[in-house]
Symmetry: C2
Subunit: 565 residues, 2 copies
């Protein structure tokens, strides 16, 4: 009997959504379907609409619905599982990806009147154009010594909920006025599936200043930020949030029809993708650091108390696993940097060599990079291609590469970029340690652990720690979402009663792991000391050149947009 | 009659030698031949010999002779000129490129006993492995307050004569002992042609601490540097040097036979390639800066007095043009950086686009880079891919690129590299200005002015100065060498009596020039301020990370060479 129970996890990522069917016993992957978002990440120009400024990143909410319509039936078919065997549905979502909607949940961008207004579209997590708004929020927050400043390690990010809502208010007040609701994509998709606007505590706590038992900052705070922002909570957000694993409702008939699932199948409340992954890596207790390694990097840790940690981007009670404080840190760019490098940095000669040797380009380059010893290239990079999240919390910082000579080769640069992301992670580990959190080991998940064993070894060598890898590292978000779904169903309906029970039955790690090599770790200690100096010099105000160049660039881009019109 | 007089200029460059036949009246180019050095620049492994350490750069002296044998007859043929119409021969050479020879001028590396010893080969100007020796020379020079420290702007370079000779003494004492002479390639080639070891004042003054009227530093200085160095001048260098335009001798019969020229054709003393070019750009008086733009960049200025200018790499009386103090500054890498970038930094997609559009790669990329406005990319580079010559005089500095984001494109990096070299030049201009030298305009020569009009425009915009281009910018060294040759012949033998007379008749500039655009210059002022801060931070000891990484690299490379054995 037990063998026939399955759970669906749906992971809404940056480029695509993935539907996965898991077996409840053992967590085995039974079937999966990936649906690319047709409009992808919109960074240059709205479909049929105006050009976007620098640092913008939007999405089309229709693309999310397409994942349900196309992906669920395909995944069911791939798994060979019947609708009645599906115990529950759980979803996870990039965050903060925010939508503005009418009272019935219709996104404003889907209404003809607002289709050409960028601010009406889904504003993706990696949209970085709300930095002035984040600055304003931080200024007022600090002046008033608001609690969120401390919760978020000193700074509220330009990527998060209120920075983006405030940008809408500042730049497109008509959108702000005509939006009945602003909400996370994580909550919007659950609303679509169930007809219930039941928002989750995870994204509220990590991205929107909400604190269990205390709620949001006061009206006075929001008024101080902007006069028309005073009633944003009451008018456009709401005050009730539901813990992870709560049943949001049952699947609506129209979605049952479109997906082939049964009407009323339990759906759990939403959760941010990174946070969903943590219990799926087996990390459900303090002492291990879970690291989600994809386009960006996220590090999460569980603690038994709330405590100040420098540059940690969120501390939320019950935010990841009930009963613990969930600590979140992150790096804005991880796999993104390597993708950028492979697109823009690989000369033709290397392509030709790969072709001649009949090996994939990445394999050739990785082999050459693996042959280098730490320090051999003389290169050092700051991994801020997409800004710095932890511990500097500054989207306006940029990447740097130093040590270039006429003898520098492409595989040396590639390795320097890998090392830089590892150094960035080490800065975060050390911030946790300084705050008194012991970290025994690291459990990694996401796309990178499978793509690049060399990267994982560099992380082990740089951090001096054993790095384990989750059993299905690319599916941890979907698995975690599905696990929360089984808890929403509960044992009585064929699921599990707690996330611990779900983890014991469904999560696991791989048998082999990456162990630090002492001689490499010692050299990396020396290079990391250099990284630290540059990190502090460029990141802590000694020389704000990166920010000044970025602001000059914005200034010029505005002028040139004006010129074009 | 006058129309039938011609002069040969032979320019010994980094990768090849070039023989050019010029008409005396007007300086018209009549015929040219380029001979690539078969062994090129030897950086990894001696032909049939051991591997070289990092930063080594050697050449095979046989390659220089090949230029004479093959190049002269081809150039004569191309010009359709007869041997009797050739008034004179002038040569110029990269510097300091040094040779160790026996008493008869035979380079040690051509003797079987020393063939496999790297230190016995011609040590090329861009050999950077003698930094410890330069450090030692500077330390002793500063302790003793030697005049050369001031002449060379505070530091004696690792690229120069005594640094390299001292490296030979330190690392291969048997070569030092067995060498009867150490000399510049510039003087060696003249010795080969004429049988006369007549050394020139230019390379002696700019690279070897020699001062007109004063000679070399004392024996005590050399002994303090190294006990066995005490008598280096008397034993291996000599004390007599001849001003530019001096007749070294007549062409030897064996070279007349090999080249097809007449025995006894006047040959002038040697001259460094950059310095040879200056009168050929029309710069024979103070007020204009001449800039040689090739693989590296050299800036030269004439003054009426000797004076201290920060980081200027040489001040030599009569060093460029008789009657003036010649001031020399430089940047170790110019065109070299762009060549590196085109080899290692251009992705396949750009190659494909160029192919599809049927335009050369450089043209496509230049077109895209030209469309960018200053500051639009948000990038800023330090142009130290090959160290910093002026004004920091430090071969151990390395390149840096800052402002990288996931949106950074290849043409933006290309433009940032061009801007960085222009910023580097501006630092030099400002050092001259601070020392009280007015610079009205700049006259450029070398390969880059013809290759990249965009680069020239960026130089005009960054420096805020009009940039003129010499009439035959790639041939100025050869033309200058030929002009000195005509002076060596003198009016009586069909040449000219002074370099001014030669310049009036043979040198010229192009009709059009590059004018700074105010709006671009204003933005560049802001970006240059940032360049300055980083220049001083990384270059003046605030953060010696570049030097520490380089020394770590050397440490590791040494270990790994040991491991291989």
């Amino acid at each position: 009997m037990a063998e026939d129970r399955f759970a669906i996890g749906i992971d809404f990522g940056t480029e695509s959504g993935r539907v996965v069917v898991f077996r409840l016993r053992g967590g085995e992957l039974c079937g999966t379907a990936i649906v690319e978002y047709p409009d992808g990440v919109i960074v240059q120009k709205l479909p049929g609409g105006p050009e976007l400024g620098p640092d913008w990143a939007l999405q089309n909410p229709r693309d999310y619905l397409l994942v349900l319509e196309k992906g669920v039936p395909r995944a069911l078919k791939a798994a060979g599982v019947k609708a009645k065997e599906i115990v529950s549905i759980g979803t996870d979502f990039t965050s903060s990806t925010i939508l503005s909607t009418k009272r019935d949940g219709t996104p404003l961008c889907l209404l003809p009147a607002y289709r050409k207004t960028p601010h009406a579209w889904a504003i993706l997590w990696k949209h970085h154009a709300a930095q002035p708004e984040a600055d304003r929020i931080n200024q007022i927050g600090r002046e008033r010594n608001e609690d969120f400043i401390h919760i978020y390690g000193g700074k509220y990010s330009a990527e998060w909920f209120f920075s983006k809502v405030l940008q809408v208010l500042n730049e497109a007040p008509e959108i702000y006025e005509n939006a009945d609701r602003f909400l996370e994509g994580a909550d919007w998709i659950v609303w679509q599936l169930t007809g219930e606007e039941k928002r989750n505590t995870c994204t509220a706590g990590y991205k929107a200043m909400w604190v269990k038992g205390l709620g949001f900052p006061s009206r006075e705070f929001f008024r101080a930020v902007h006069p028309r922002f005073e009633n944003v909570i009451e008018e456009k957000v709401g005050t009730t949030f539901y813990p992870l694993g709560t049943r949001a409702g049952g699947l609506l008939a129209r979605w049952a029809q479109k997906t082939g699932l049964r009407e009323g199948t339990p759906v759990s409340v939403g959760v941010a993708d990174g946070h969903a992954a943590i219990p799926a890596t087996t990390v459900t207790r303090p002492g291990s650091l879970a690291m989600v390694m994809g386009t960006s990097l996220v590090q999460m840790l569980l603690g038994t108390r709330r405590q100040s940690v420098e540059g940690i981007c969120g501390v939320v009670e019950d935010g990841i696993v009930p009963g613990f404080w969930g600590y979140e840190a992150g790096q804005y760019a991880g796999g993104d940097i390597f993708a950028w490098f492979f697109e823009h940095g690989i000369p033709k000669s290397i392509h030709q060599q790969a072709h001649k040797l009949k090996v994939p380009l990445t394999k050739l380059l990785t082999k050459r990079a693996a042959r280098l010893r730490p320090g051999e290239s003389g290169l050092l990079a700051l991994d801020w291609w997409n800004g710095n999240r932890s511990i500097l919390v500054d989207a306006d910082l940029t990447g740097m590469l130093l040590g270039l000579t006429l003898a520098t080769r492409v595989e040396e640069i590639y390795r320097a970029l890998m090392e830089a992301t590892a150094f960035g992670t080490r800065v975060i580990l050390e911030a946790f340690e300084r705050a008194g959190f012991p970290i025994r080991d690291i459990v990694a998940c996401g796309g990178l652990p499978e793509k690049s064993p060399l990267l994982m070894q560099i992380f082990a060598d740089v951090t001096g720690r054993e790095i384990k890898v989750a059993r299905q590292p690319q599916l941890c978000s979907a698995l975690g979402a599905a696990m929360h779904g089984t808890v929403a169903a509960g044992r009585a309906a064929g699921g599990y009663d707690t996330i611990f029970e779900a983890a014991d039955n469904m999560a696991g790690i791989q048998a082999s792991c990456y162990r630090p090599r002492r001689e490499h770790h010692e050299i990396y200690d020396r290079i990391f000391a250099e990284y630290r100096i540059l990190h502090d010099y460029f990141g802590r105000g000694s020389n704000d050149v990166m920010k000044r160049l970025k602001s000059l660039r914005k200034e010029l881009t505005k002028e040139s947009i004006l010129c074009k019109d």
